[in-house]
Symmetry: C2
Subunit: 218 residues, 2 copies
């Protein structure tokens, strides 16, 4: 029993390769569309490796989703600094969200495809995913919006959070249709810089409108 601090180096190697390959395949083809054979082929692992390391396909999917989103948590460097004005905090949040979500050229962009699939058809991974990865960012956004216009009630804050998130998320989930809708030329004009400006300005205006409505009829 010499499991002192590190296991054998070669042990986790194929397991990690399987998790990575499984994440890509599941994100691209869905749970039913992806096959264990193709995943093992991509990971350069034997067919029986999935059964050995994870038991079955379902547990491989669950662990692949969790592994994909656990390594993304420490990407938010400077959180809620009180030294920066709230509108500027919101701009930072939106820019960061857009860059992480909408950028298809990023290496691991399939991470978010997995999340989108969990949205449409939630599996057992959805609960852990929401609590561990999404909730912290949601609460941060909620704090920023509360800083922009203090005094809003809970429902207004929730709805405003979804106003920000919905706008950002659309440029990921609606890409295929939106680009066909306006054509490639106009679609390319909606670059991340412009979208950051537009969504920030729109969201700030929405917050102001909600605060005004609140003060008019309390």
């Amino acid at each position: 029993m010499s499991i002192a601090r590190d296991e054998v180096v070669n042990t986790d190697a194929t397991k990690d390769r399987l998790l990575d390959a499984a994440g890509e395949e599941f994100a691209a083809l869905g749970f039913e569309g992806a096959t264990i054979r193709s995943i093992c082929r991509r990971a350069e692992a034997n067919l029986a490796a999935v059964n050995y390391h994870f038991g079955d396909k379902e547990r491989l999917y669950y662990e692949a989703v969790m592994a994909a989103h656990q390594c993304e948590l420490p990407q938010e460097p400077s959180g809620l600094e009180e030294s920066v004005a709230a509108p500027e905090q919101l701009r930072h949040f939106i820019r960061h969200f857009l860059e992480q979500i909408v950028a298809v050229n990023r290496a691991k962009s399939w991470h978010h495809d997995l999340m989108l699939r969990e949205m449409i058809r939630p599996t057992a991974a959805c609960d852990s995913l929401t609590q561990d990865m999404i909730r912290p960012r949601f609460l941060m956004l909620r704090g920023i919006l509360d800083g922009v216009a203090p005094g809003l009630n809970e429902r207004q804050l929730d709805a405003l959070c979804f106003t920000v998130i919905g706008q950002c998320l659309f440029y990921r989930v609606g890409t295929s249709i939106a680009s066909r809708l306006v054509g490639a030329e106009r679609w390319s004009g909606l670059d991340p810089e412009y979208l950051t400006d537009h969504i920030t300005r729109s969201s700030l205006a929405a917050v102001s409108a909600a605060a005004q409505k609140d003060s008019v009829s309390p």
Copy 2:
């Protein structure tokens, strides 16, 4: 050769049942997840009926998607009436969009699940779907927003359309995560009536903000 004008009545019966059953199965389980056997069982048709009427599974999927969205076009009764003020037109559009998109209790709510799947992974049906069904509504929204604040440029109009659509769409695509995020109680408070108010007010504020920015630095 007596293919005068109408085919045999009973002919299209099983074909229509197949299209309906296929739509539900594909929407619920995806293309790979749905099986021809389950579709035929649900449609009370023989297994060979799919091959006879559609050739193969892929063509069945395509025709099911198209059939699902063709019967939704004439749901927009009064379009762009000039007698109604533009902000009120926007409210009507948002309310209609929300009711049609977010309502899960509707009978054929799986129609939109098919569209969401086309968004994440577009198939051959995506082009026809965008041009025939989505583009008319998009142009209508664009006209409404142009009526709210005339003089906006193309890029601003596109982005503002997506601000409206993104907010509405989130309450369909993000339901599973958003409800887990805020809890069932607060989630139920975001009913269609409140959301119509919130999104309309937010969108109008966004349009005003875009128009102001345009007038400040032309």
